[in-house]
Symmetry: C2
Subunit: 299 residues, 2 copies
């Protein structure tokens, strides 16, 4: 496989992530052509007008006949049936990948229902996003400097895996592989749990008898802490349900630590309280330092 | 009392908040002079060099003899004994105020131990701060456009209350009065609880067996959500203990809502889950809109 080869890329579902990846792959010269199918055909018209895609496919089967790499970039809840439909009509496709935030459920569905095509499927998750959504928000630079986690099965076809790695590298991302269940545990901890906590906090305050004063006197720190509670409720409902087991485990672990803090406060145990606050501060300062170095390209 | 009168202002404790208020009152022409006492006398030398204060007092009693308005701006844990010492030697002071984040404990200590001087005491809390601390970080514009909550007793001396209102208005803040227990409940909900949640989350993740991957793959959203876990552990230990009862009640209310989300996720009840996520998003979007209008001066 030569580095200069260009590939026909197909998208099933075309929103912010699919559209941004299409633009990035065109810009990098990795894409020979971009084809897309979306359940909402008006999206394809808009994407054509914006120059995000070269052609629209009438069906998933037609799309799979005409591309080298097929990318599933649909909402979480639709992914399971779509990935099976894609894998059951692979045509001449070299590899199939996806961008879903939860990976275990798709992995298990494919293993159970399309084991013969599983080797072509390289699950992926770009750790990037935006407050905006939809193909009109597509941005060729969305993945630049971000990480993409791939969770390939041990039986994955090496050519398929290599090609998905090349695709994300061409889009400007750094690729790392991870066990599929570890991926879901890591994302439950760093993303899904914080969203649930922010939703729970704002929901609790919104139903408080002193709601008006609470929102009147909340300031910038509260705005930052609760920003993620402004995320799309349908998308997060689907992610929470798709990653149910890992999320419940993360919630329970969090509650154990919150209970310990509650006990220290109730017992007026300043020593234990300060110890836990300090341990958290140390970890968070280290993390922020590493992230700043990562953002600046130092590591 | 003429608006153009200038006052001799005294500070007990001189860090970021006291130093910033001193600079703001000098700049506004409200202060005839600034005197300060601090348990760490080296702070007073630095403050003099920086032009934050005009003179240093040898003791709290000496300070109270020579000022019109005395402001307690010390760490939470020290406030109770300091406010009593101030009120027991009022000298010619017209009013005494403070800037502590928790108000009920001080209010009750004063009512119990210095009821004869309680009328002079107007508790205050500026809703402003900075990641930085200490008098060297003092900033004359720190309170500009921010809110200050006063929690005066119904027996407060009207002249004392009026003067503390003038002082904060001169510093650029908007002043609002509130019942002392409601203040502590509001702050528990909007500030103390979010800090405890952020500390609990980072503490839980730091002790996770997959800690390294968690911090490696966490991104900008996680950084924003956990920023307050980088706050000073001693300061927040003291605030949590000072506002113990209201904070425990806020934690329990939060946990009731978190449990409800847990049940919806465990039961795969997408309807209930979406309803709560959506209610939170609506409230948070409204709050963010109001805050943006407030920041821009529209309301």
């Amino acid at each position: 496989m030569s580095d200069s080869r260009r590939y026909r890329i197909g998208f099933v579902g075309l929103g912010l992530i699919g559209g941004s990846l299409a633009l990035a792959l065109k810009k990098a010269g990795f894409a020979a052509s971009i084809t897309a199918w979306d359940i909402d055909s008006s999206v394809l018209g808009r994407a054509g007008d914006l120059g995000v895609i070269d052609s629209a496919a009438d069906s998933i089967a037609a799309l799979m006949q005409s591309v080298d790499i097929a990318v599933l970039a649909a909402p979480t809840q639709a992914c399971e049936s779509l990935i099976l439909e894609m894998l059951k009509s692979p045509g001449g496709t070299i590899c199939v990948t996806d961008v879903a935030s939860v990976k275990g459920d798709l992995y298990r569905a494919v293993a159970a229902s399309a084991p013969e095509a599983a080797a072509l499927y390289v699950p992926g998750h770009p750790i990037a996003g935006s407050e905006r959504s939809g193909v009109t928000a597509a941005d060729a630079g969305l993945f630049e400097g971000h990480r993409v986690i791939l969770t390939p099965d041990t039986n994955a076809d090496p050519q398929a895996l290599g090609l998905v790695q090349q695709l994300w590298t061409a889009a400007g991302a750094t690729v790392q592989c991870m066990d599929v269940d570890e991926h879901d545990r890591v994302l439950a901890a760093t993303s899904h749990l914080p969203h649930v906590l922010a939703y729970a906090l704002v929901d609790a305050l919104a139903k408080s008898p002193i709601r008006d004063d609470i929102f009147r006197f909340a300031a910038g720190g509260f705005r930052d802490f609760t920003r993620i509670a402004s995320s799309d409720p349908v998308m997060w409902r689907d992610i929470a349900l798709a990653n149910r087991d890992a999320l419940l485990a993360a919630m329970d672990d969090f509650c154990t630590h919150l209970d310990a803090l509650r006990t220290s406060i109730a017992d007026r145990d300043g020593v234990a309280l300060e110890r836990r606050f300090r341990s958290a501060k140390t970890a968070r300062d280290e993390f922020a330092r590493d992230l700043a170095m990562r953002d600046s390209g130092t590591i």
